[in-house]
Symmetry: C2
DNA sequence: TCCGAGCGCTCATACGTATGAATGTGCAGG
DNA sequence: CCTGCACATTCATACGTATGAGCGCTCGGA
């Protein structure tokens, strides 16, 4: 009834437990073929399977990679956000023969997922963990790093102390390229639509945008460019009447609001104003926006490789990686047209 | 640098390792408040976290539930199929404080996922496992059961030997209800469109269908009803000309083909023929079919509860559960109309 | 004063595996 | 015949935790 151990196999094969261990874990240097055969036969007969916990206890390795998200992995609202990452993570883990632990237990009643709950951290079950999520908890990240736990984070996160290994979409250069391509079309007067949030990912986009605007000598008098968020009625009036022919929006939602607001003022996209979006999947329902697409699946795969690299060389200095983003053409960008 | 153990905490708090163990795992009966405080302070100071592997080795319990799918969890084609199950699984696991292990490693080159590879079974890392997948491997299922491993299967699977605990959509009664509602609308002459596959889930639907047809004294002369699959041109001709006013299809794809075939013969859905589908999500893109909807998310949740019940009472007889399905109204069913 | 009981804590051990060190055996060379 | 050595195998231990048994102390009751 109870699962057989190496000791049981050993008894049946007439050898010692350590011989069994050596055979099942492939350390066959000093064991003659014939003995191996006997042991393997016994393994098969008893249906022996290694005990992962014991193995882990001994080795500190489990061929098990964790995935921790700071929000539920599969909530409807964020479905698109996580899904592609997971796809890549699973795909790559499967390819290289690792299993995945989804750390879902919270124990917290506030809905937020914490790594450390009542002082305990379940993550150490896995050899290392991929961290994910918009609402990453900075303190936990810092503590995890200071504890020497192996992890990589998808998306850049900066925490005082030391660098954290991140897999980061290259928003800076992609945004720059996007602006450049608009400028190549002849656009000179730009506006920038900013989300309310101040996460690293948005900061990167803003850097890339500002760099391109300055390098190309473009004009931007929008509040978003100067650090004020929002899409006010006043500003929409200005925009409809002003010289701007191109708008760069940080999100689809903002772009949709813009479309509505402009339509109310008799302006259309892209005839009057071209719009490009800095976050899209390339296949949203509804309008086909010209947008920047984060290669999420690819990033998931890279995260796994980076994590495995860390697991295999725990002492190497952790490094972050930039991943190039794609620009996808849609139906919301055209050449500039002088407004009447 | 190395993670602190209970022994380290004990040293700092001036107690023994076992005292620490008792406090951290809540067995505080015989330890006075003051000592507990001291120990907890030491835990905090050192940043002690329990070692899950050691705990598991000792207890055989890990608060870890496995999820094994016989195909990749997140492939595009089957996205819809698995996704909702996982949603429920994750949601419920989170609620009751379990983590999830996604068994993704195959080690096989044929793309099929096997539980037992080179004789070893990684599943035993988890306390129990939810098995999932259209391509369930019967042999592995039987072996798993015979090994005494704790699992539940989503979807009914029958394997010679003994019963396997399954969480099963109640296709029989749902199909019966669906046919009954069509009959209530006045339909008398039915046709049945059968998929090529012979899985348990389809068998159930056919049983339910047959039961309803016989109970209500309906007519069905379709090949699908008599065990032949497919949607031939000949049969479409018959159908277009015959007395049938209602068709029950096993899948959306079949129904779409039917729509095309009928349209080519000048027949429309639902004006000439009402169609109901025995497998849908209720929000397919395209036509809104009247269909039977499997409550996948709910089933995922139930699977977790059933699994946990097994984990907590390993000696109880495993039982399968039927889960009621919903009928969703669409735009493809109307009252019968006499054909000209 | 002595005994029993309860309390607070520690001892010792088992869980299953991996691995460096040790043991024993057989054989060739001197 | 003894030495040295290669080879096959076993020994012994450590990993970190949980827990039944055990130990010493204190206190109340007779």
């Amino acid at each position: 009834m109870k699962a057989p151990r190496q000791a049981d196999v050993a008894l049946l094969a007439g050898v010692s437990q350590s011989a069994v261990s050596r055979v099942v874990s492939g350390d066959t240097d000093r064991i003659p073929e014939e003995t191996q055969q006997r042991i393997r036969a016994a393994v098969k007969e008893l249906g022996y399977v290694p005990n992962a916990a014991a193995r882990n206890l001994r080795n500190k390795r489990n061929r098990l990679l964790g995935v921790h998200t700071f929000e539920a992995v599969f909530p409807h609202a964020r479905e698109d956000f996580y899904f592609e990452f997971l796809l890549g993570i699973e795909e790559r883990a499967e390819e290289i023969g690792y299993d995945l632990v989804l750390f879902t237990s919270t124990g917290a009643s506030d809905g937020r997922r914490r790594i450390y709950r009542d002082g305990t951290n379940r993550l150490n079950l896995a050899d290392g963990t991929v961290l994910l999520g918009a609402a990453t908890d900075r303190e936990e990240l810092a503590r995890l790093r200071d504890d020497g736990y192996l992890f990589v984070h998808i998306g850049r996160r900066e925490v005082p102390g030391a660098e954290i290994p991140c897999i980061v979409p290259d928003y800076v250069s992609a945004t720059d390229r996007l602006v450049t391509s608009l400028a190549d079309r002849g656009h000179r007067h730009f506006a920038y639509l900013r989300e309310g949030m101040e996460q690293e990912a948005y900061v990167d986009r803003r850097h890339g945008y500002r760099a391109a605007v300055e390098r190309l000598g473009l004009r931007d008098r929008s509040p978003g460019f100067h650090g004020e968020p929002g899409l006010t009625e006043d500003w929409l009036d200005e925009l409809a009447a002003g010289p701007e022919t191109a708008v760069v929006a940080e999100g689809i939602r903002l772009a949709e609001e813009l479309r509505t607001g402009l339509a109310a003022r008799g302006r259309n996209i892209p005839e009057d104003v071209s719009v490009a979006v800095l976050e899209g999947s390339g296949d949203e329902p509804g309008h086909r926006w010209d947008c920047l697409v984060v290669p999420r699946k690819k990033i998931g795969r890279i995260a796994i490789d980076a994590l495995v690299a860390r697991v295999e060389h725990p002492d190497a200095e952790p490094v972050s990686q930039l991943v190039a983003c794609d620009l996808v053409a849609g139906e919301t960008v055209a050449g500039p047209r002088a407004k009447e």
